[in-house]
Symmetry: C2
Subunit: 205 residues, 2 copies
Amino acid sequence: MKGELFILSSPAGVGKTTVAEGVVKEVPKLKRVITCTTRKPRKGERDGVDYYFLSKEEFEERIKKGKFLEYAVVHGNYYGTPLEEIERELEKGYDLLLVIDVQGMRQILKSRKEAITIFLLPPSLEELKKRMEKRGDPPEEIKKRLETAKKEIPAWREYDFVVVNDVLMEAKEDVKRIILAQRLKSYRFDPQRIKDPALRELMGL
Amino acid sequence: MKGELFILSSPAGVGKTTVAEGVVKEVPKLKRVITCTTRKPRKGERDGVDYYFLSKEEFEERIKKGKFLEYAVVHGNYYGTPLEEIERELEKGYDLLLVIDVQGMRQILKSRKEAITIFLLPPSLEELKKRMEKRGDPPEEIKKRLETAKKEIPAWREYDFVVVNDVLMEAKEDVKRIILAQRLKSYRFDPQRIKDPALRELMGL
């Protein structure tokens, strides 16, 4: 049974990385897609965990080789989603959680309409600003990211699901619920769940 | 915000009533639709809780008055879904859980394509038989219900979601998940959740 691709977007600072990591830790057979970027790692960010941190030259080499499902330039840095990794993991039956911005979501939906999209909202703009300050973003970055947030938030209606990240634990439970409920879709029914041959036959498995 | 109609079907004896009652108890703003029947109450069944138990005459009077969303005859008894009650509760913003058989689901989907459908499966036919014996169904009823089950189970693919009622607690959690995840759909977003006027404006609320 092939896995499904879940896309999680939110303005910078809402806490999508924390939510995504919590969800991936608690949901079996779910992996996070590690994307590539040429921006510098922030404090505490690890290569291969938060992102694959690439040089501009490495990134452009991969663009040429068609290695990205999508890529974009944001605030002067490249961001890209590795194609082969996604295909391989979905084929193995893993669900994938891809954290990506609104532009990235739109790009991906062009070739993968079946992706399930989730938008994470801050409870308020004030709280969003506070969270960025708290994690030590420089003031000029905060200003730039708030401007981007204002452009991205109106896109919430384009997403299948909306989760408000007011209380972290609740937002995480909501995203888990979306992913776990999706696994109960009849088209995704795992024939392995039924052992009784008579019932299997009735079900046409 | 209008509520949504969830339809839960399963062959007799799988435990749909127990699952449905557990779910309704634990999910806020969710009510069970009490359906009408002319069959005799089983041990422990209460009028207005499990069903509205009606006489044949009362039932036929309501048919004439157009009071049912759908109705059918099963094993010689009438079963019907009251229309006005559903409309009223959905308008009030309640989600509704309607426990109904495959035929009933098909009837309702003709006029309400937006209903969300869940099929509850037994883990095996043997276990299904055991559960009916355990609750004291008479042997000839068991035989009849198993025959019906064999006709109904192949319909599982017509449903949006499939839950296996192997362990009661898990089946209940699965149904809860489906209902709660549905509330996170962006088209159902409750504007009340955002208090910040600036964010509300950005969101177009």
